[in-house]
């Protein structure tokens, strides 16, 4: 616990060095820095702002007045989409698939990571290397045969056809992060639990998992975001629209309403909101998980 607390506290704690590291930095000197950051920030934010504003215009208005503020503000684009069941079905599908993937990958990885972290057994390093090798292989490599496999298993147009492979491809990163965390939990605790009559499963369930809550949070956030944004696999697996997820829906919507720019912008913005909202709540876990995953992998 202390280890992750220390880790997540680092950014704020260590942002201070520059104060004493660099001699007093008056506002005047940092003006060019603000200028650079402002320009970069504008370039980063402008596409999003433009999309959000364009959603409030009619397509006709958009072609007459592409860059200005909407006048009048048109609410029907957003309203129509939010009022239609289609959009909410996509949100529901994306949510269901993301949650199921996350539960599966975290549960299965936690068991494996526990074994890697707390047991010495023949073949351990070989097995661990096997999993870590999974990190290096792009999903695209396996896409085609995976599709054939899912077809022969009858899992096309079935959410399991996306959930199971997503969980499988999420294993390496999740196992690596959890193993690192489980190893930091002191051996004394395990001894104490054994003395108190806990078997390995009891120790795992009653001691290790509750202590590992921050790490479980981190890997869960990573799994949710990865699943939420996945495009390739749902594109292969879902041939009819019943189970489409948001990214597929956005692409289809653009194809369907290609002439109605404003409506597509509104759809885009609404499709981005859940991910951005999730990011704003779970920023720390997401960034912490990504940096931990990258440096430990």
């Amino acid at each position: 616990m202390t280890a992750t607390l220390g880790k997540s506290a680092k950014p704020s704690k260590l942002s201070k060095p520059s104060r004493s590291g660099k001699p007093a930095k008056p506002g005047r000197k940092s003006l060019p820095l603000h200028l650079i950051l402002g320009v970069v920030g504008a370039v980063m934010g402008l596409p999003l702002l433009y999309a959000a504003l364009s959603g409030f215009k009619s397509t006709d208005q958009l072609s007459r007045n592409p860059v200005g503020l909407p006048g009048p503000w048109v609410l029907s684009n957003y309203g129509d989409i939010l009022g239609s069941g289609d959009f909410w079905r996509l949100v529901g599908n994306s949510t269901l698939i993301a949650v199921a993937t996350t539960v599966l990958v975290v549960a299965v990885s936690a068991l494996a990571a526990f074994s890697f972290a707390r047991f010495a057994f023949r073949g351990r390093e070989l097995l661990f290397t096997l999993f870590t090798m999974g990190l290096m292989f792009p999903f695209a490599v396996a896409a085609l045969p995976l599709f054939l496999l899912l077809r022969s298993m009858g899992l096309l147009d079935n959410p399991l056809g996306v959930i199971l492979p997503q969980a499988a491809f999420g294993l390496p990163m999740t196992i690596i992060i959890l193993r690192g965390f489980f190893r930091e939990i002191p051996g004394e605790l395990e001894e104490a639990a054994t003395v108190d009559g806990c078997g390995p499963l009891g120790f795992f369930w009653r001691v290790l998992l509750p202590m590992a809550r921050p790490a479980l949070g981190t890997v869960s956030v990573l799994a949710v975001v990865t699943s939420w944004n996945n495009f390739f696999l749902p594109l292969l697996v879902f041939t009819d629209s019943t189970w489409w997820t948001l990214p597929i829906g956005v692409q289809q919507f653009q194809g369907q309403y290609s002439a109605d720019y404003a409506r597509v912008f509104a759809y885009l913005v609404l499709a981005m909101v859940p991910a951005l909202a999730f990011y704003s709540v779970a920023e720390r876990q997401l960034v912490g998980g990504l940096t931990a995953g990258a440096t430990k992998g």
Binding site: P17, G45, V108, L111, F119, L149, R183, P200
Partner: protein
């Protein structure tokens, strides 16, 4: 690591001897077998999932690549290495390789240095630092497909935001067809990739920068090193492990690039933005030349494997050595 504090147990850096195995000599073999079974039982669910859905497909692609096969029934028309011979004479695939290289070079030469510069800026105490950090990283959490749709509209010829803005500031000459222009499509794609991904690399660098002990830069400051010298001789070398990992992730990302390209251009115009994954998709799912598409998968796999092994052997290895020595230093 923790077990090093426990007495009379043989421990290496990554061997944790669990207390459960410490028992009487009698029945030790049985106990050890039980211990092994317990340990492996925890691995079974993960292993099954991994073997069936990750390893098996990759092995199957390796097999199917040697057949002429439409994807139905089992492959039977064995044609040896013909698919590979054809692949390396296919101008589109050779182009894919070239474009992959271009993206890697552009990332390493432009995107990553830019991310590093931003990380160094945001590592200082600045007003609004957290806001910038959040804004720069935000595109990373968006789906690549959704980002693609957004930018296909922003770079729409004439009507899109890009051309409109350039027109407003009198730079019409810089505008153009973007994704529809064979000579501009890769640059446009790279622009979008940078928008989406530089923030991620910046976050990695920020984490790396913050783990550099303050004492080192302070010592350099006392020795009279200026800002550039401190960056060049203290910060950069200490950041090297992070930089190497970020280069690694960039390359793996370029090899498997699909979503963004598929949504914006589908590889066009006339293959000018096609990537290996897009070519594979075209042959495997649109033209039903599954054997040939498998050969593309295999080559992608081979490139990733060779790159990953070579990188680990020659580049990342130093980091592991560094990590173990510092760990030992810390333990004291």
């Amino acid at each position: 690591m923790t077990s090093t504090f426990l007495p009379d147990k043989r421990t290496g850096p990554d061997v944790d001897v669990p207390p459960m195995s410490a028992g009487a000599a009698k029945g030790r073999a049985r106990r050890r077998a039980l211990h092994w079974l317990t340990a492996v039982a925890f691995q079974v669910p993960a292993l099954v999932l991994f073997l069936v859905l990750v390893l098996l497909p990759i092995l199957f692609a390796l097999y199917a690549a040697f057949f002429r096969w439409g994807g139905f029934g089992m492959p039977s028309d064995y044609i040896g290495t013909d698919n590979f011979t054809r692949l390396f004479q296919d101008p589109v695939f050779l182009g894919d390789l070239w474009r992959c290289l271009v993206l890697v070079v552009l990332s390493v030469a432009v995107q990553l240095p830019f991310a590093l510069a931003m990380a160094v800026l945001l590592n200082q105490r600045l007003r609004g630092r957290a806001v910038y950090r959040m804004l720069f990283f935000a595109p990373y959490v968006l789906s690549e497909a959704i980002t693609g749709v957004l930018f296909s509209m922003i770079f729409a010829p004439d009507d899109g935001l890009a051309d409109q803005l350039l027109g407003h500031v009198g730079l019409d000459g810089l505008g153009g067809e973007w994704f529809a222009d064979p000579s501009m499509v890769m640059a446009t794609l790279f622009l979008v990739m940078t928008w989406k991904y530089f923030g991620f690399h910046m976050m990695l660098y920020l984490a790396g920068l913050q783990s550099i002990p303050r004492e080192l830069t302070e010592a350099a400051l006392i020795d009279g090193a200026n800002a550039w010298q401190r960056f060049r001789s203290v910060t950069l070398p200490l950041l090297a492990p992070t930089l190497r990992i970020s280069v690694f992730l960039s390359v793996i990302g370029a090899i498997q690039l699909f979503d963004l390209v598929w949504v914006t251009t589908a590889g066009g115009p006339d293959h000018h933005s096609e990537t290996m994954a897009v070519t594979m998709f075209q042959y495997g799912f649109k033209r039903y030349q599954v054997g040939y598409a498998s050969a593309i998968s295999v080559v992608m796999f081979g490139i990733s494997l060779v790159f990953a092994l070579a990188y680990q052997r020659f580049v990342l290895r130093r980091d592991l050595e560094g990590a173990t020595t510092t760990m030992r230093g810390d333990a004291k």
